[in-house]
């Protein structure tokens, strides 16, 4: 059945919604918004764990360009095609994939409205829309300004634009990177980006400099990154903490300047990573709080703002879990388990949650941070004491850095298969 036809049929189901719920299949109907790491995993695991459940996934894009390994594209070590995932595996798993924009959620009537006017009814809804960029959060920046100063924080055209700018930059040029304050998507992401661009500069434009103007005073895997920068790219990278004047006050895209605590800095290429919030659909359905993110029950990822709705991935507030593809995948499985239990009238299973963030410094130099989480109703999601954490500070004969670079690629391939099939 084609996506359009499914949407039309779903629309007609919505019309008969007044009919008693008993008339529906016992297993129930689940709608998932977003086919990124979170939504795809939730949809696949719902079908895997109970093939009888009816799962419809709404996604605005025809295929998914992943942010993981998009920094490798910026370094010239990966192609956009190599990080594009098809939705064919989800269809093969029995998920009804509807291409379209979810424009509203009617929480009372339990249905999702699409931009084309069709509606899809649900018993349970999973919302995994990822992030929206808050362009206004940086004075002088805007969606239009991203054509001069790309964010490249959603992978695709923006990634290619930044790559082209880096390729066109003369040797001896300055690349300015402006990471946001916490919380944001992928805490180590800006620093992996700095590393892989430095790796490219070292090979092709060794006189170039990278200036990182940070809103923060410290960052994810900082010790590991800075030791690696010292060893691999001595003198190339200058990271300025917020307290030392790194916090950016405004940008001027026409002049290609960035104003921070110590005046105006001119870049040949400038990457602004603006502050973020849960995707628009979460805001319009009032699933987000004042801070822009969605509170959830840590045991089930059920929204605390609406019934029969689960919010997962970057959009959710998940205690100690960072906003990562790995977290979103783990949360998708927890939501799937909780939904199937609740449809069957059973208590939710105890959740198992973990996160793994690999970062590449060069194509042969990988580092990681990982945690397995403990979850309780009162304390929420916390890391397991005396476990998890960072790669060894000093590598041994095992050759940790090179091995972890290979495992990072293995992780990418395996999490892709686990999420999209």
């Amino acid at each position: 059945m084609t996506a359009t036809r499914r949407a039309v049929i779903a629309g007609s189901v919505a019309v008969t919604l007044a009919a008693p719920r008993l008339a529906r299949a016992a297993a129930g109907a689940v709608v998932v918004i977003g086919a990124g790491f979170g939504g795809a995993t939730a949809a696949r695991y719902l079908k895997r764990l109970d093939p009888a459940v009816d799962v419809t996934l709404v996604e605005r894009e025809a295929s998914i360009v992943t942010c993981p390994f998009s920094n490798a594209v910026l370094g010239g070590y990966e192609t956009l095609q190599g990080i594009t995932r098809s939705l064919g595996g989800l269809k093969a798993a029995g998920v009804k994939v509807v291409r379209g924009e979810a424009s509203a959620i009617d929480l009372q009537a339990r249905r999702v409205r699409l931009a084309d006017g069709s509606r899809i009814a649900y018993d349970r809804l999973v919302v995994s829309p990822g992030i929206d960029l808050n362009f206004a959060g940086v004075a002088g920046y805007s969606e239009a300004a991203a054509a001069q100063m790309p964010h490249a924080w959603k992978a695709g055209a923006q990634t290619m634009l930044l790559r082209q700018q880096l390729e066109a930059m003369p040797d001896g040029g300055t690349f300015i990177v402006v990471p946001p304050a916490n919380p944001f998507r992928c805490p180590p992401g800006p620093y992996e980006r700095v590393s892989l661009v430095a790796s490219y500069f070292k090979a092709k434009k060794p006189k170039s400099k990278i200036l990182v103007l940070d809103a923060k005073d410290n960052f994810s895997k900082q010790g590991l990154f800075q030791a690696a920068w010292e060893a691999e790219f001595p003198g190339m990278i200058d990271w300025i903490a917020g307290k030392d004047g790194g916090k950016v006050e405004s940008v001027d895209p026409a002049a290609m300047t960035v104003k921070c605590g110590f005046g105006s800095q001119k870049g040949d290429v400038v990457n602004i990573i603006p502050p973020q919030r849960a995707g628009a659909i979460a805001q319009s359905a009032a699933l987000a709080g004042d801070n822009g993110w969605c509170p959830v029950d840590p045991m089930t990822f059920a929204s605390t703002k609406a019934t029969n709705v689960h919010v997962i991935g970057d959009a959710s507030i998940a205690g100690a879990m960072p906003k990562s593809g790995s977290s979103a995948n783990a949360q998708g499985k927890v939501a799937a388990g909780a939904i199937l239990a609740s449809l069957a009238g059973k208590p939710a299973p105890t959740p198992a949650l973990n996160n793994i963030c690999y970062s590449l410094v060069t194509p042969d130099y990988g580092i990681s941070v990982t945690d397995v989480y403990q979850v309780t109703k009162d304390k929420g999601i916390t890391t397991t004491p005396n476990a998890g954490g960072l790669s060894v500070r000093t590598p041994t004969d095992l050759g940790e850095r090179k091995l972890e670079a290979a495992f990072a690629r293995g992780w990418y391939r395996n999490i892709s298969a686990d999420s999209w099939g």
Binding site: N329, P349, T350, A352, T370, G388, F407, W411
Partner: protein
């Protein structure tokens, strides 16, 4: 080494009764798949998880946990699990076809 074998044997018998409060073996094993691939069938670099080999899995996890087997990351991960949870993980993996 013999002490380790005896320890592993206790864990093996601890088996299913264990981990009643925590997540199920299945729920914990599903979190391994992001690195080891769906059902542990890794397609690249990371070793595949051997299914149907409970004793092997328990022993590796104990070795990782005690930093006796050199590893890039499994030592950090294994330390997150109690011995009972390791038994539940190995039990579930052993049942996978």
């Amino acid at each position: 080494m013999r002490a380790l074998a005896a320890f592993a044997a206790t864990l093996l018998t601890a088996g299913v009764a264990a981990a009643q409060d925590g997540p199920s073996g299945q729920a914990m094993v599903q979190t391994c798949y992001v690195c080891h691939g769906p059902e542990g069938r890794s397609a690249e670099a990371v070793p595949a998880l051997l299914r149907g080999q409970k004793e092997f899995v328990v022993r590796q996890m104990i070795e990782f946990k005690a930093d006796r087997r050199p590893a890039t990351i499994m030592n950090r991960i294994a330390k997150s699990y109690s011995d009972e949870q390791i038994a539940a993980i190995a039990d579930y993996l052993a049942g996978l076809k």
